[in-house]
Symmetry: C2
Subunit: 549 residues, 2 copies
Amino acid sequence: MNKKTVIPQNQPDLVADWDTLFRVFIRPEGQASRATLIKYMDRILYGLNNFLKTHVGITEEVSLKELSKNFTDTIISDNPKRKLADVITCLIKEIAPYAVNVASPYFVGHMTSAIPFFMVHLKTIIAALNQNVVKLETSKVVSVIEKQVIAKIHRMIYEQSEDFYQKHVQNTDSTLGVFVEGGTTANLTAMWAARNAKFPPKDGFKGIESEGIVAAYNAYDIERCVILVSRLGHYSLRKSIGILGIGNQNVIPLKTDQNNRVDIEALKQTITRLKKENSKTCILAIIGIAGATETGTVDPLEKLAEISVAHNTHFHVDAAWGGPTLFSKKYNYLLKGIKLADSVTVDGHKQFYMPMSCGMLYLKNPKTLDVIAYHANYVNRRGAVDLGIKTLSGSREANSLILDCALKIMGAKGYALLIDHGIETAAAFAKEIKKRKLFELVTPPVLNILTYRVCPPSIQKKLEKANEEKRRKINENLNIVNRKLQQIQREAGHSFVSRTTLVQDNNQDDTIVVLRSVIMNPMTTLAILNEVLDEQEEIFKTQLKDLLG
Amino acid sequence: MNKKTVIPQNQPDLVADWDTLFRVFIRPEGQASRATLIKYMDRILYGLNNFLKTHVGITEEVSLKELSKNFTDTIISDNPKRKLADVITCLIKEIAPYAVNVASPYFVGHMTSAIPFFMVHLKTIIAALNQNVVKLETSKVVSVIEKQVIAKIHRMIYEQSEDFYQKHVQNTDSTLGVFVEGGTTANLTAMWAARNAKFPPKDGFKGIESEGIVAAYNAYDIERCVILVSRLGHYSLRKSIGILGIGNQNVIPLKTDQNNRVDIEALKQTITRLKKENSKTCILAIIGIAGATETGTVDPLEKLAEISVAHNTHFHVDAAWGGPTLFSKKYNYLLKGIKLADSVTVDGHKQFYMPMSCGMLYLKNPKTLDVIAYHANYVNRRGAVDLGIKTLSGSREANSLILDCALKIMGAKGYALLIDHGIETAAAFAKEIKKRKLFELVTPPVLNILTYRVCPPSIQKKLEKANEEKRRKINENLNIVNRKLQQIQREAGHSFVSRTTLVQDNNQDDTIVVLRSVIMNPMTTLAILNEVLDEQEEIFKTQLKDLLG
């Protein structure tokens, strides 16, 4: 325990004492400290604002390595190293410029974007209140508000009757949904509930949660559990099934059709094959995607629901991305069938434009999560309002309050404007890509995500005529070019699209590297997207053309 | 999909249109909007401050039921319902008063408390930057800072050499720790890694993560996995083992000694018994508690480490509560042996005084989490700096930046002052409880948590003489009194202690209800705690005395 402390070069006049401590603990009350506080907040909100206007800021990995050399001191100094004002100044002047400006309208590469500035205010309030929603004793009214806002989103998804909501909205025994850390935890929670529901307690068996998988399979004479999802399913599904002890190889990736939707025939055939291979195989869940991470595509949810019912299996929809499309009266038809899902994942920090980290899981049946309930003596006692009883996590912040306020400030129509803008701008962008000869549109947008790649007309012609071997060779060359293109553009720091690797024609050995655009920032216009394409054309012409021979 | 929308009574002049949307998306830039923003922030920080000074605010459950009747509208209005300013005013005037004032020095019942006001500022910055630490492309420098601050805390726990930290601090292949949502996720991650390490891939077996538990047990000829922890272990351990498919009945609760530390002899005997019962039992992990949730006690970590080594099993320490005791040169000896742990859970939102939700897991070996790594094509590619590769969650906010700044502002000594205050105030409080005849100190404080109960001298005498049956009867009466006492005090809203149920003499059938105090607020003085006791004496005398006959 005798830690050797080396005091680094810090401001020598700073000492940790009770005076300092009181100053930082008690919110400043005098006029002078009030002024100081306002100055800080001004610096935070405007200093950052200036940064957010300037650059995208993803530069070379080399410079990152250089940068990381400045962050190798691992000793915590005994006395304070910096005053609050200096820390904030440093954050704004030295750290923020090396962060990524996800709020730039030129940042169209990932599902992280600008958020309305009031979200920041709301997050501040949540932090100041410091409620812990795990239990009523540390949250009170916030638990009640959380139940209400969950019912609101549940209603948007499931459209049950007013009677249904009156019965369940504030019912302590009902769980219409839960707030979680993010889409991964939401998917994990859904699969956890599906697993436990398949192996409930019965004579001589206390249930899978208590006795574990080996005993459960024995009790129910099962040898294998699988979940079925399009090969475009999010990797958190594999992770979930791995964590749950089922084995992630039992996530069976299904073929997709030409529109990147799960192939229903392939699903049916897979079920038949699995049952034939081993009649003791249990289909734990069928999963539909509403907004695939890579392509933004939506599975035929109604058909999936039908098959799930026929096989008596849990139907989960991963709408982490696409869920808020329901706000749009123009485009909500794209998610037709979502209300048939037993559970639905939606992310708050994606198209609800909330700050990181906020995920949600919604349940058709208010009793579904009963199978994952945990209690403790000092909190979460049986029958209590304590929301922590049916969540994976324990202590947790009151993000529900942010969503509740956001719904009031934006209205459904406000969110619909954002959704419509994304979908329509993506469609216009796709047209533009098609118009430009250098590019090939690989996956057309359904929602607001599309992929494309550099593929000059001469190469396109060659591809059309080539045999499989030759085609693969050409694609390998194109992959190099597209990978480099994305990297050069990213390092230039003016704009950002991401890249991913897509399987072609469901053939795992035939992959192509594509550029991926996610249009969620309302400031991202077609003009800006044209600039992004212009820059890519320029990069290709000046730096990459020769690579294609 | 044709949602029937009923527009509720809202401000009729508010419409969702692009003008409104632009106003809420772009941070205000004109002088006028700047002034508005400052006014809001002022309201947030001072309106809340006024609330935070007034009351504890946990009132009757009846009033909560009444309150919940106001939160049953489940329709999202089409147009905005309220302007930002009104929403904020409503939060401050109508919501906050019904929240729980966890910042009050009279709130000594749970592990949630006042936080330094700068934490709120830092949270605001994090929200404004909106970085997503899952991948470098949405976080950049923040990923580097996260690695650094993790190394700092790792160094405080594990005290490795400067060479060790120079090698690992910015090494993309090394994981000294991870930020997670909270203690539950940290414990789950630790158990996940321990599980996977026990069943790695080998000839003809692709590893437990891939093939699942049934195949893993077969491959390694194992029939049961257990984890061993004191009966005071946090309920998240049962939850973790349940989620992981091992079965939560395989969390074996161990007897404790008179000081509420795990009984080492009982541990040894349990291991012998388990192996004897079934030689195919695998001890997955032994867990030591550094700050038990209910009693604040610390297990003999060195001895646990020794036994873990002897049995070649993962040694995890749950220091969610007690971890920051290491800051105190006076009391860090209480955690002696923690550096021998394979993994250590620490919570940021507990004694690091950070806002909800922030947990961490630290690993002695920088490779430990390799067994839980997941990759995806569009992010977290192999070899990348992307921090999401080895975390349970995907997208996640940059809480690490808050901790980094807090360490600079507070210094180790600043945190030590808080720790020392808690431990010493709890000790003084215990003395005071002993002095007062009405109370019985049930678990004396080791750190800053203690439990006690109302037990008048006459009853104490009766208990001493009573046989088991009679003793149980008397305790049942006392339990009723203490439960009511806690409830009446909570509903009065002046101060708050929590209650829990403790097992006596390791006999599950012999439980007593106790009052539980957690002293972490630096403003909580002995004088305040005496007021809490005074109030309890008064409540007993005027309302509960007769219940004891």
